[in-house]
Amino acid sequence: MNSFYVYLALSIYVLIGFYIAYKSRQGMKQGVIEYFLDNRSTGGIVSALSYSATTYSAFMMIGLAGFTYSGGVGALGFELIYLAGLSLVAFFGPRFWLVGKKYGYVTPYEMLGDRFQNKWIAIISAGTACVFLIPYLSVQLMGIGYLMNGLSGGEIPYIVGVIIASILAISWAVIAGMRSVTWTDSLQSLIMIVVSVIILFYVIYTQLGGFVSFFGRLETEYSNFLSVPGPGFFNFQTFLGLTLPWFFFSISNPQVSQRLFIPKSLKAMKTMIKGFLIFGLVYTLVSVLWGFSAKLLFPGLQQADLATPTLLGSEHVPLLLGLIAMIGITAAAISTVDSIMLTLSSLIVRDLMQSRDEYSDKKQLRIGKFVIFIIAVIGIIFASQQLDLIATLSVTSSVGLMIVVPTIFGAFFWRGATAAGSLTSIILGAFTALYLQFGNLSPLGLAPGVWTLIITVVSFISVSLFTEAPKKKANEFLGYLDKELEDKNIL
């Protein structure tokens, strides 16, 4: 593909994105809540589209399609168990939203620190989130670098793709904070879903004889790919190790759990959940079917991650569709990166800088915007080095971020939960995740995610039983929630 067409397609996407980002600034006031949380006034449809774009990164079209290519139908189960994890939001979503409004929380860790009356919970949680999410963000940038480089036949250097992606993410996060992020996310999520569906139908109907023939060929040519463990990758231990951390993604990852603070009403939150679930089901099925299509069309690829780039760069996909697919994948990556940048910026301003109350909103925002820039620079440096360390940390991110899950459960459902229990579980969990992942260890055949969950849960409960809970705050916090839950019929 000629680099001219790649740049042309990108230019159109960038211009529309900037137009929307600037448009979102209109009527916006300057304040921390306005900037980081869109003044808690985001409508349901924008919340749904933005939640979808933030959650689904370039992993879906490249990584999940690759998983399907190499491991078969287990990839579908893995991603749909993640989607079913959204049922947690039906319980936690309104709780986050209610206490967020009542106590003015900006980040989920600020909420935990206040609930347990211990600032170290917020500091350590925010610190670990930075350790795991910056590499995750870098991997997204690397994905765009490889994609543009690959599709232009090497004419666009890898680092140019990384820098273009970083500039877009910084801009769309800085122009109007959460508002420009959610508005541009909405555009990007529509691009992602429309493009992926069009290409799937095009490939299946023009190259594979329609869905009946497609599934028929799968059953005859790759029958073992339709069951688990299938060709071998998705044995039960691997499957459990992958799915367990992802099941808790909606409450463990701050860039998505922070979104529980932004809907303007419970009705908007309902729309957000509904919209995301439908988006997620369609996008998952499409990504998996892309992987199966690549298997039938290019059975001999050495690297499974090349399934999608090979499909897009082949004669089976016309130039125009290949270009819009590249934009779709770029959009998926950038919408995740800018949301992570904005969330990390809020974590640094609100949780790591515990002296924030001494600063005016204006100063906090200035620091927040500067931090976004610094995060981007670190992301670019990591992406340019292409180190194994970054890839390992990125893979560990879903496990590493899971360490706050027992604390979140305790905050809402256990008056006896303590700050000591929370800190112990977070610290032990972080060490377990890093030690097992970097050591490539799976004691008793269980994956790092399983051990991390066991250790965080056991340490949280056992230490809480022997230490003193912040009873006054627990009663006030949960007493308020009990009353509101009853009034609003929240389960």
Partner: protein
């Protein structure tokens, strides 16, 4: 809704969701193991996801602003 009724509904929905999620491991890995057809694990996981989505949406329909 009264507090006790909310609690009862919460427990029922949590039990149902836990069963549903366990089934997403048990059915494909045990009952459908080695059945190499689209109508087996592929279909089961899709139906499982639809059931989880409908259950989640149903829980949100109780909410009132």
């Amino acid at each position: 809704m009264k507090k006790d009724e909310l609690k009862k509904k919460r427990i029922i929905w949590v039990i149902w969701l836990v069963i549903l999620i366990i089934s997403a491991y048990f059915v494909p890995f045990v009952l459908l193991r080695g059945i190499n057809q689209v109508e087996a694990s592929f279909l089961y996981w899709t139906v499982f996801a639809v059931a989880a989505i409908l259950s989640t949406i149903k829980i949100t329909t109780y909410w009132s602003d």
